[in-house]
Structure formats: C-alpha cells, structure tokens
C-alpha cells in the first residue's frame, strides 16, 4: 500500500504536465488555425542543395 504514496503523486504530476502543455498550446494560439496547421507541414519550398565546397570553406 505504501507504493501508493509515491505512485499517486507521480500520476498526478504527469497528468498535470499534460494539462500545462495543453493550456500552453491553447494560449499560444495553436488551435486557432487547425486547417492551416495541417496543411503547413506539407509545404516545404524546393531549395537547391548547399554547395559542399563552399560549406567546407
């Protein structure tokens, strides 16, 4: 039974971390544009590969 003394606080703490993360995500506007966010990960403009020689110099 004494295990509960550790396990319950740990469970609550981890749950609390999730809650804090959620609150942070809502406050920082991450749920404002769900459609756009879903599409944005697909957008990566084509860029030329960096030139190795100039990178080494």
């Amino acid at each position: 039974m004494s295990g509960l003394l550790f396990l319950i606080p740990i469970a609550l703490f981890m749950g609390g971390l999730g809650l804090v993360a959620f609150l942070w995500a809502v406050r920082s506007g991450q749920f404002d544009d769900p459609d756009g966010a879903a599409q944005r990960i697909l957008i990566s403009p084509d860029q030329p590969l960096p030139d190795r020689k100039t990178a080494q110099e």
């Binding site: 609550l12 809650l19 959620f22 749920f31």
Partner: protein, 739 residues
C-alpha cells in the same frame, strides 16, 4: 460575379479564377505600428495547402514584406511590411491569383466569440484532466470495496476533493455565471439545475469525506462538467463559424470608394465616409457602393443584382445609379445622393431586420426540451428528498444524499450534447458537399420547409448569356467578334467566347446603349441593337445583337441565358422529396416563362419588385406554407430574410448571403443535399432527445430508489453521452447513401 464566391475559385484543385470585381483599395485600412505597416485582409476561396503557399508566397515576394500569414480556417491574411509599399499591390497579388479579397476592419475585430471559445476550451481541458485523475482514484475505491481500509478510502476521497475544488471553481464558471444571471431575472435555464447539482454534489461529498462515508460524488461532478463543456464548446464553435462568416461578409461590404476631391484628384476612402454630395469616380468593372446620380460619362450598367434584369442598361448624365450596380464600359463620375448607410440598402436592411426579428422568435428544439426539462428535474429531486425524509423515514443525511444522486443522474449530459453534436456533424457534412451553413438552428428551419421559391437570374440560370445562333458563317462571326472583343458587355463577352481568340477591329468605338462601331478588313461595321444597325428585331425571347458589315443586310445573333446544367435534375430530386416550387423573378416575362417551361415549373411570376417578392412570401406563409427562399440579388434580400429558411449561391451579393441561412456553391446540386441533411439532422436530434428522455425513464427510478452509487452515475452518464454522439455520426452514413 463578385469574386467572393465560396467556390474553389482560385484553389488549384478548383475552377477558373473569378472574373468579377477588381480588388478594392485597402489603403484606408492600413495600421501603423512603429515603422511597420500592418494590414489584415479576408481572403475568399482559399481551401488547401496549395492556396496557402501560393498566397503567402505571392505576397511575400513583394518588396519590404516582413510577414504574411494566412489563417486557413478563418481566411484571414495578416501582412506586415516596412517601407512604402502600396497596399493595393498586396490585394492585387492575391486577387490575380484568383481569390476574393477585401480589407478587414480590425478595430471591430476584437472578437469576444474567439475569447469565449478559447476559455471554454481551456475549461474543457481542465475538467477533462480532473475527471481522468479522480476517476483513477475512484476506480481504486470501487475496486477495493470491502477490502480497502477506511482511512485509505478517506484519503483517496480527500485527494479527489482537492482536485475537484479548483476544477469546479475554474471550469464551472460558465455555468455558474449564466445561472446567476438568469436567476437574478427570476427565470431559469438549463444552467440552473447544472449549477445546483454541481454545488450540492460537491458539498455533500465534502461532508461525506469528513464523516468517512462510503460514497463521494467528486468524480460524478467533474465528469458532468466535462461532458457539458464539450456540448457548450461545440455550440460556441458553430456560432463562431457562423459569426465569422457574417463578419467576412461585412468586411466585403465595407469596400473602399474612389472620391474626387475639389480639385479632381482621386482618393480612396472607406465607403462609410461618403457623405451625400461627394463626387465619386466609378471605374469600369467597379460596383457602386452608394446610390448616386451620374454627372459625367455614359456607360452600360449591370443592375442584375439590384433588379433581376439580366441585360445591362444604358446610363448617362442625370440618371440614377443604385448601390449594387456594376459599371461595365466607361468611367462614370457622379454625386452620391445618400450615405452608404442609407441608400437603397437601408430600405432593404429594414426588410432584413424585420425578417430577423421574426426569426428570432423561432425556438429551437433544444430550447423547448430544456424548458420542459428544468422544472421536471427540480421537482423530482425535491420530491425524492421529501419522500425519503418525511415518508420513507430516512435520516436527513441519507435523504439528501439520495436527492443529490437523483439530481446528478438526471442532469442533462446527453441533453446538452444532443443538439450541438448533430449540428457540428451536419454542418461539416454539408461543407464538404459545397454548402456552408450559417447557424445551427437553420437546420431545423430548412427541414421544416415544404415549398421553394427560386429567383431566376443567377440562381436557376447562369446569369451570363451564351451565343446560340446556328448557321452563321464563320467569317461573319469572326468579324463580329473583332468588334466584340473591345467591350465588357455580357453579350460581347459571350460572342467573344463563341468565336475564340483573335484580332481586334480598327478604331472601335463603344456607344453606350447602342453598340460598337469599327472597321474590319476595310469595311465599316456595326454591332449592337436593331435600331443601331438598321435591322428589324426578330421574335427571339432571349437577348440578341445585330451585326452589320459594310452594306450587307444586318444579321441577328441570338443569345440565351443558360439554365444551370443540373437544374432539372435538382428540381426532380426536390419534388421527389415532397417540395413544391415556383419562380419569382424581377426579369421580363418572356425570359421567365421560357425557363419555367424548360424546367417544368408551372407557377411563376415575372417583373417582381422586392416588395412583390416579400408580398408573395407573406401570402404563402399566411396559407401555412413553410417557404425556402433561394435567391442571389439585392432584390431578393428582403424575401431571403423573411422566409422560413433561405439559401444563396456563392456568387450572390453580400447582403443576400448574410441574409440567408446557407450559402452554396457549384451549381444547384448542393440544394437537395442541404434539404436531405437538414431533415436527417432534425430526425437525429429528435431521436437524441427521445433517447435522453428514455434514459431518464430508466435512470431516475434507480436514483429515486437510492441505488445510484457514484459508479452507477459514472456509467450512466458516460454511456448516455456516448450513445448521443454515435447517433449524431449516423448523419454521415445516411446522407452518404442517399445523396
């Protein structure tokens, strides 16, 4: 038409770009923050990642742009730049890609709705966290029944209480505040029994915990809160979507106008700054925003959205021009006769508000259910308490405990979810099918309709004429097209479209109201009305042009306003659903009867003014019919607002879109689905309420008899909510099969 259609206009996955209005000048909406200039625009038609990158890319390439970010969910584009970039170029960059664009007035944009939605989401998160954690503790209490020591149980209960208290204080505010507000006015709503149940459940549980009792209801209280917040959040989201659509429309209406100052320099101002007597320049392709009298210039004016007349009208000095008309050929200058707020629009907006008042008296199914439910729940709980205490001979504590568990278990979780879940599912379903729903209760009203009134121009027909003459020699057609290419007149455009690309005639002159004149292959030619070319008008019911080449006899070129491709199929589907239909149009009788005949609609009215439309509507509603009005023009707006339910195509004028319950795009095809989905949604809502009632019939006796332990309450609550949600998802299955 206006370039603000909900069609996939500029979307790479969609159709050709719109031809409509030039982007209006947003300079009046630029905000200065330090050295940075900022501008917010609403963008119409952006739907996918392709749109996102194209728009942001095109704007980002302009000189000096620092950030350009498009919110795909709300269609808002925020741009910040430094240096002196003409903001018009930003709007142009977007509109040349084929999207509708208009400046957004951010002063009125501090949206309370968004805040409300966000705070509900936060409350929901907190309640969800608390429910999960308390449930973890509760399951141990239930599982350890009989084995767990009393001290351990008391400890776990106390821990639950410690989690529950801040949760109730934080996440319960929306309910407590609302309940307190209505109680102050000596009325009740659903939030009153909710608040009462929450407070009682918590206090009783605290008392039980201190006493070391077996049952505590902290978990039930938090779960109740969580489910109710889900319903509340979904509801807020439907409303915000509807509201943001209305805001977009308002943004599009707050166009800018080119005002001429005393020395004749043009200046771009907001439409609401126009005073009667101001001189205004109306460029070709531009839409008049205020009523005006023309002082200089002659031009053809497209008034189809104002009057329903499908062909342009010649306008010259001294003539009145109504707000909503589009100038087609030559620049016009005129004097505003009224401010934007009280032009012809004001008369129509009076009709709109009359209609809205009538609609606001409509009560949703959910409201009716709640008004029946609240007194029932309260009296049941009270009677339970009195019954056990006075008659059953239980102690005060036990009686209160049973009454509280009754209150918890009857508390309207399923009821609170029943309507919002259905509305969200149905609205999403319709959105995929090309119809945009503007409010949740629109579903119920559309479902009740049994008669449809169609406007003709732009609704049943495409609103743009098509060249239909056969047997015209190709060289003659090409010569005529050489003249036609110089004009923006819809008939000229139709002719150009029929002839394809080619050269322009020499020295083309446009004579507004008459036609075009120019030289083709050395021969003087005229294209225009019968009298202009010296011909005799034929008996064609649609529009025609006459073309005279050199000394040859004039040839008649016939045009027809095509019926929407899918119209007859749609009308067949609608009548199969038991709908009766009629056409009420402002256009000429020949044009209307022609369309009515082709579509097999026997009842039609032509030449109807806005007041006539409203009168016809009142007549039908007086006869007990529920009318679904479908129209796109300014002349329909009053009727759209007054009708039991209404829908407007995506190309409709702003006012008409904001007056209607739904906006659809891509031809008439979404209409049967709109009706079908609305009817299914209403049926599902009724089923949900029926289920909620049936659930109470089972659960309440259990609670009254004192068998509702926290475990039973938890199962009952989550079970009933789950059933309601799953039932709502059936809308997707149903309409998939049938539409």
């Amino acid at each position: 038409m206006t370039g603000l259609s909900l069609d996939a206009n500029g979307c790479p996955s969609g159709l050709a770009p719109p031809s409509g209005d030039a982007a209006s000048d947003p300079s009046a909406f630029v905000r200065k923050v330090g050295k940075q200039s900022r501008l917010s625009l609403t963008v119409r038609g952006a739907k996918c990642g392709g749109c996102l990158s194209r728009i942001e890319g095109a704007v980002g390439e302009l000189p000096g742009i620092e950030t350009a970010r498009l919110n795909l969910s709300s269609g808002r584009l925020d741009v910040a730049w430094s240096g002196n970039l003409d903001p018009r170029r930003i709007a142009e960059a977007v509109s040349t890609l084929g999207y509708g664009v208009a400046p957004l007035d951010t002063a009125s944009d501090d949206d309370a709705h968004k805040k409300e939605e966000r705070s509900l989401l936060l409350a929901m998160g907190v309640a969800g966290f608390a429910t999960a954690n308390i449930m973890l503790l509760s399951v141990s209490v239930w599982g350890g029944h009989g084995e767990m020591g009393e001290a351990t149980r008391q400890g776990l209960h106390a821990l639950s209480g410690v989690i529950a208290l801040p949760t109730l204080l934080y996440a319960g505010r929306p309910f407590f505040a609302s309940a307190w507000n209505v109680l102050k006015k000596r009325r009740t709503n659903m939030d009153v029994p909710i608040s009462l149940a929450l407070i009682l459940a918590f206090s009783v549980s605290v008392a039980e915990t201190i006493r070391g009792g077996e049952h505590a209801y902290f978990d039930a209280a938090c779960m109740l809160l969580f489910f109710l917040l889900i319903g509340r959040f979904l509801d807020a989201r439907v409303r915000r979507r509807a509201w943001s659509a209305a805001r977009d429309l308002a943004a599009l209406a707050s166009r800018t106008v080119t005002r001429l100052s005393a020395d004749g320099t043009p200046q771009s101002v907001r439409s609401e700054e126009i005073r009667p007597g101001d001189r205004i320049l109306l460029a070709p392709g531009e839409r008049a925003v205020v009523d005006m009298v023309i002082e200089q210039g002659e031009s053809e004016v497209d008034e189809s959205l104002v009057t329903g007349e499908s062909l342009p009208r010649w306008s010259g000095a001294g003539m009145k021009l109504m707000a909503g008309a589009i100038n087609l050929s030559q620049p016009l200058t005129g004097r505003a006769t009224a401010a934007a707020a009280d032009s012809l629009l004001s008369e129509i907006s009076q009709m709109l508000s009359a209609g809205e008042q009538k609609r606001s008296t409509y009560r949703q199914i959910a409201d009716k259910a709640v008004s029946l439910y609240v007194p029932l729940v309260h009296s049941t709980a009270l009677l339970t308490f009195l019954g056990w205490w006075l008659i059953g001979g239980l102690g005060l504590r036990e009686s209160i405990l049973i009454a509280v568990s009754t209150l918890i278990i009857t508390c309207p979780c399923a009821l609170a979810l029943a309507a919002p879940v259905v509305q969200v599912v149905a609205a999403g379903r319709l959105f995929k099918g090309g119809a945009y729903l503007k409010s949740g209760d629109a579903l119920e009203r559309i479902a009740a309709c049994d008669h449809i009134i169609f406007d003709k121009t732009g609704t049943l027909t495409l609103g743009t004429p098509r060249f239909v003459s056969t047997g015209i020699p190709a060289d003659l057609l090409n010569d005529a097209a050489q003249l036609a290419r110089a004009s923006r007149h819809p008939l000229s455009r139709a002719l150009t479209a029929a002839a394809g690309a080619g050269p322009l005639a020499k020295d083309v002159k446009e004579h507004p109201g008459l036609g075009l004149e120019g030289e083709v292959n050395g021969a003087p030619c005229r294209l225009g009305s019968a009298e202009w070319t010296g011909a005799v008008a034929g008996g064609h019911s649609g529009a025609s042009l006459f073309f005279a080449r050199g000394d040859e006899a004039p040839v008649e070129l016939r045009f027809e306003d095509d019926i929407q491709g899918d119209a007859s199929g749609v009308i067949g589907k609608l009548s199969a659903m038991g709908m009766t239909m009629e056409i009420v149009s402002g256009d000429r009788a020949e044009a209307v009867s022609d369309v009515a005949q082709k579509l097999g609609i026997t009842q039609w009215t032509a030449g109807a003014k806005p007041q006539d439309k409203v009168r016809r509507l009142e007549e039908l509603q007086g006869a007990g019919r529920k009318v679904l009005m479908i129209g796109d023009g300014l002349n329909d707006a009053g009727a759209l607002a007054l009708a039991h339910a209404s829908a407007a195509p995506g190309g409709a004028l702003d006012v008409s879109q904001s007056a209607s319950d739904a906006v659809y795009s891509g031809g008439l095809a979404p209409l049967p689905r709109l009706v079908k989905t609305a009817r299914t949604a209403k049926a599902v809502m009724l089923q949900n309420f029926g289920f909620a009632a049936a659930y109470n019939l089972v659960a309440v006796p259990i609670a009254i008899l004192g068998h509702a332990t926290p475990l039973v309450a938890a199962i009952a609550m989550s079970g009933s909510s789950l059933v309601v949600c799953l039932n709502a998802l059936r809308i997707n299955l149903n309409t998939e099969k049938q539409a």
